[in-house]
Symmetry: C2
DNA sequence: GAAAAGACTGTCAGTACTTACTGACATATG
DNA sequence: CATATGTCAGTAAGTACTGACAGTCTTTTC
């Protein structure tokens, strides 16, 4: 049950345990004692490090939230081949979403009131991706390589589809347990490419 | 803040208030006093009706969970015209998901441990739909009306796409606030029909 | 190398607050 | 009278958080 390979400092052990447990049972569903025990430490140590339970969560968020600039990520990598680029976009999407998996779980469970700014940060990536993909579709359409009557809606459709798949995958108790991500990504990209071909 | 039109019985007022608040703040994030007050009643009345907080939630679930047999719903309505049928499937999907909106929010926030059987029931519809749509694609393919190399995966893709859109719409703080459901449904169906055309 | 100092942690007892839940009694409504 | 509700006071448990003290381990210093 314990991520704490013995080399980690106490602070990190606590942060990881907190992230793990809060993602699973919600902020109000976990006690500070539980978190400390899961980290293999005493409750006292938890408070010595972070002062309050709230600050512990905030610290965990600051420490383990990955936020790259996506535009740079794509600026050089797009090769203006539809299927190839869509595959790049979707795998990148799933990579980032997976890295922020726990964060996303938490922001789904807690309401905005108690976690100021939490949502905004977990939603940054999806929004950037939508912009990028919309512009990509517009340019591809101008180049005559695809047909899009509505670039933004199509970009949204593409991303929200992967968002759905990600959500389904997020939970141990998922709705569609038989389906894995990798083949889905492949097939969905193929499908989309077919839909947009001139 | 109050749904309680004066004609409702106390029991229902409480159930609705509970549903509303738990969906918003989570089971552990709401107190019995809050629920009772929101219903315009005293806490005592709450306990007289339901005994415990747990039973209140369970009662709310039993009372407000809509679970029709989807197969019957579609048996007569499908007309074997791809675009028309996909539109029917997706609008029906969104209708049912919307009716169970609060339930789904709750089952997302709480972990399985505390709500036995909750998940299973909110996931019943999606699973039935996948079956129906898969069989539909197989039959349509046999009739030569569409091309599907992988009917189940394509059915999954279609549904999970709408699931994603539903999730995005579920929250006040959604990731893509500019996009409405109705036009999305239209466009996504058109797109899908294009992708599967022979 | 021994000793002293400092940093980190555990134990334990305890406080203050919240919250699910109860019992006794009064009130209203039909 | 019967049923449904409100008020109020109170209990028992859980939980975030604190203070005092002791132990261990590492680092510094003579």
């Amino acid at each position: 049950m314990n991520d704490s390979s013995s080399k980690m400092g106490s602070g990190d052990k606590l942060l990881l345990a907190a992230l793990h447990l809060i993602a699973e049972k919600g902020y109000n569903g976990v006690t500070t004692l539980e978190i400390a025990t899961a980290a293999g430490l005493s409750e006292k140590t938890l408070f010595r490090h972070f002062g309050t339970k709230q600050k512990l969560l905030e610290a965990a968020f600051d420490r383990y939230h990955y936020a790259e600039e996506m535009k740079k990520l794509f600026a050089e990598k797009l090769v203006w081949d539809l299927e190839r680029d869509l595959l790049l976009v979707s795998t990148t999407y799933h990579e980032i979403m997976n890295r922020n998996r726990k964060m996303i779980q938490i922001s789904l469970k807690e309401d905005e009131g108690q976690l100021p700014g939490f949502r905004a940060r977990t939603q940054k990536h999806p929004q950037q991706l939508l912009e990028i993909l919309t512009n990509y579709f517009i340019e591809m359409s101008a180049q005559g390589k695809i047909v899009t009557s509505n670039p933004e809606m199509h970009a949204f459709t593409f991303i929200i589809m992967h968002f759905g798949a990600f959500m389904n995958d997020l939970d141990a108790q998922k709705s569609y347990p038989g389906i894995n991500l990798a083949p889905f990504v492949q097939e969905s990209v193929r499908l989309f490419a077919r839909a947009l071909r001139p």
